[in-house]
Symmetry: C2
Subunit: 275 residues, 2 copies
């Protein structure tokens, strides 16, 4: 069985770029780091969020890491293509960070924890490299937040395959709702989590195309081979599920999905020092 890893096929790469541009405002409008701030982006993948992060805080110094050399190279190209100059890249593992403790003012981690078997341990490692006045910003989706009109049993079963495959690979795609307890368990303080719900109907054609079709349905379609190979679903049910997902992009359809954004401080005094 192929492993399901973000950013390894062309369609996946294009999907991630679509997602990043359509949702940038919803997810990132309230993330800004000041001049001179040293920010660690943990798990940058092919750089879909890196570009937004760096352009949104052009005077901060972003250090973006990923465990994959191939992803780092793609991210480096993406950043170079846009003439963004405040990012440096490094191949590194979140669980074995090559940085001294208290190196960074802020940590930013987006769509990464969902793939990790031990997200709390990852957050603890990231906490170590934060300065005492530092903050962390965590963003995740939650595939269990999906629902649509018209409703469809087969569409739900197809989405469930995506959830089950990610679980099988050691991840958890229902993680958005858990950001608060995860940050708490990792020992962060002054935790604030806010949902970022994407509601789509036919009055919003950019979201129909950029989110429902190019992001969400494309992501579900991406696991067809694995879902059938695992015997999680039969092909007829799968095809009906995918057709029903596309059905929600018609004139009378609606589509709902929620991302969660959490911010927290390393120490209880953080907010006082940092304010």
């Amino acid at each position: 069985m192929e492993t399901y890893v973000h950013g390894y096929s062309e369609r996946e790469a294009s999907r991630l770029q679509d997602q990043a541009s359509t949702l940038a405002d919803l997810l990132h409008h309230d993330t800004f780091y000041p001049a001179g701030a040293r920010v660690l982006e943990a798990g940058c993948g092919i750089g879909a969020q890196t570009v937004i992060l760096a352009q949104g805080s052009p005077r901060a110094e972003i250090v973006s890491i990923d465990v994959s050399q191939a992803s780092i190279e793609a991210a480096r190209s993406a950043v170079a293509a846009l003439k963004v100059s405040n990012v440096s890249f490094r191949v590194a593992d979140i669980f074995d960070l090559p940085f001294a403790e208290e190196t960074f003012d802020h940590v930013f981690i987006c769509f990464v924890l969902e793939h990790l078997g031990n997200p709390v341990e990852a957050l603890k490692q990231l906490k170590k490299v934060l300065k005492p006045t530092g903050t962390i910003t965590v963003m995740e989706g939650d595939h269990g937040s999906f629902y649509c009109h018209p409703r469809s049993r087969e569409a739900s079963l197809a989405v469930q395959c995506l959830i089950d495959i990610q679980a099988h690979l050691g991840g958890d795609s229902l993680i958005g709702r858990q950001l608060y307890p995860l940050l708490k368990e990792a020992g962060f303080h002054s935790i604030g989590v806010s949902p970022r719900m994407v509601y789509v109907d036919s009055s919003k054609p950019l979201l129909v195309e950029g989110f429902t079709r190019s992001t969400f349905i494309a992501m579900v379609e991406g696991v067809k081979k694995q879902a059938l190979a695992f015997g999680m679903i039969d092909e007829k049910t799968w095809d009906k599920g995918i057709a029903d997902l596309y059905r929600t992009t018609e004139d009378d359809g609606t589509f709902c999905y929620t991302f969660f954004k959490g911010t927290a401080w390393k120490t209880p005094e953080g907010p006082l020092h940092g304010a």
Copy 2:
């Protein structure tokens, strides 16, 4: 079997008041009608929303109707207790409105369509009594938008009982996601729907108490007798489901639910005339 009707038991009445005050800002902050506007509130129940509506637009003239004489009396008392003077009440049926066509500048309808077998027909009737430049504002929850942490099969089954009972009574508690197509089918124009998501974690004790416990779980608990009488669930599973719902109100729990608010115009020219 007892019919499940909002506002008929003391606990239900208290539940509706809790819901109204905790969620008032989220749901109603962007509803305002100017001085002299004639507003029809269709299906005011015991007046939980009436009070907020009237206080939010103190110089508009609100006409609140309900098909139940008992509800109208309760609503009248609620309004009188708060010395709100811009509301008049009348017992009337949405499907047989005692008003001339083009009587109202605006229609407001909140938590009513979910109980109706033919919501599109209700919207069409309300459209008739609107002036050509008039608007409608529709608010509904969607019980399928519920999810929580920790997850629980039994909690989902208990919530499903509530959904199934409402369906059995001819309603549809998954209606929030359908506001856009319903308004479209009823012939409204310039339809805009926005989700109002309630996200609750233990950093928000007022919502834990006012929404998760006093509103949502109380509503689910309210159908226990019917759910068991129908054989929809066994008592052990039910009790575990309710216990698991309460479990989400602990320190590491989270709870999600989404309301939807739709606004639309009677005619395509409405926005131009009304702007």
